[in-house]
Amino acid sequence: MTPESQEPSETRSALSWFFTGMRGITSLPALILMTSYVGFAAFALEAGLTRGEAVAMTLGVWALPAQMILVGTMLANANIAASFLAVTLSSIRMMPMVASIMPEMRTKKTPLALLLFLSHFIAITSWVFASTHLRKVPKEHRVAYFAGFGITLTCTNALIVGVSYGIVSQFPPVVAGALFMLTPVYFISSIWASARQPVVRLAFVFGIVLGPLLALVSPQFDVLYAGIGGGTAAYLIDRYRRKRHRATEAA
């Protein structure tokens, strides 16, 4: 899984980087996500979705929170416009997530169509993976490396949903509780460990505090408000800090 392997990076082909990315499937975040998708398969069965529908939803949506919301609106017999609205409002966060890794991933020669295609494989887990590992990969091979990881992760989880559908109905309560806790604690430590700039650590603190607080005030748009408000506050504080730093250095 470590991008630095035996051969010097210049001589390695894009295909070999694709395979290196694929090996990320055995990483801790990928394994955690797989257990979450076993949970989704159980939820889909309970909600009355067929096996094919559960797999299609995993491949087509590829964002666990959005999938849960979509199934929820189906259970509530909402019409297609209401389902669309609920899912799309919960997915606005995709835009800054995708936008923030694009400059790191693409080169001047990367075709736009390829990036549009690969953006489908960006969800929280692959975003964390990309922000952690992309910088260790030579720039011209980052697209291949991410494609290897992202496509493999999505297809493996679709397979897992198809296979575990109907097999796992429920975990023992202690195991289920621990599984639900794995995802958030993994995000907390991996995002903090991979934060290179102070602005990211500031935004981390703002987001983690504002998220639950705003959920009490505005349960519909809490994440959006916490993201835009907390992120902007972190950015402004960091810009002030950088300016003052530059001013003292100049003096």
């Binding site: 801790l28 529908e53 939803m57 087509g60 949506v61 590829w62 964002a63 959005a66 259970l75 297609i80 389902s83 609920a86 899912v87 997915s91 606005i92 966060r93 995709m94 800054p96 997530m97 995708v98 936008a99 923030s100 890794i101 694009m102 400059p103 990036l115 953006s119 960006i122 975003w127 309560p173 202690v174 509780g177 621990a178 639900f180 806790m181 794995l182 958030p184 604690v185 995000f187 907390i188 430590s189 995002i191 903090w192 602005v199 990211v200 935004a203 981390f204 603190v205 987001g207 983690i208 504002l210 998220g211 639950p212 959920a215 809490d222 994440v223 907390g230 992120g231 902007t232 810009r239």
Partner: protein, 112 residues
């Protein structure tokens, strides 16, 4: 619940389109950003705050079995785990295993 292929249309429109629309907009917006530009600092901050807001909500307002664990246990496990993670050289494995161990121990003591 709608029947047959109408569910697939629902998945395509209210699932695939509803999420990928934002991903495509992200590609277009990100295409204009330079690495280390001011705008990218801001976008990165917003994306991080968004992901952390989602993450904190998973702990404070959990769904499923975790909801049976008391709030103090969930916050304590995550908080103490993060403190130990910071003190022991920021190893992700520590940051994951310590909170899980505290949570499991707590669940066994409290009993769910």
């Amino acid at each position: 619940m709608p029947q047959d292929y109408s569910t697939y249309i629902l998945i395509a429109v209210a699932g695939f389109l509803a999420t990928d629309l934002w991903r495509w907009l992200g590609v277009v917006a990100g295409h204009r950003l330079n690495e280390e530009s001011e705008a990218l600092h801001w976008v990165r901050a917003v994306a991080t705050a968004l992901v952390m807001a989602v993450t904190a909500k998973l702990i404070v307002f959990p769904t499923g079995t975790l909801a049976h664990a008391p709030l103090w246990l969930r916050l304590g496990a995550a908080g103490i785990g993060f403190a130990i993670f910071l003190m022991t050289g920021k190893k992700v494995a520590v940051g994951v295993l310590v909170p899980i161990a505290i949570l499991i121990a707590g669940l066994l003591v409290v009993g769910i």
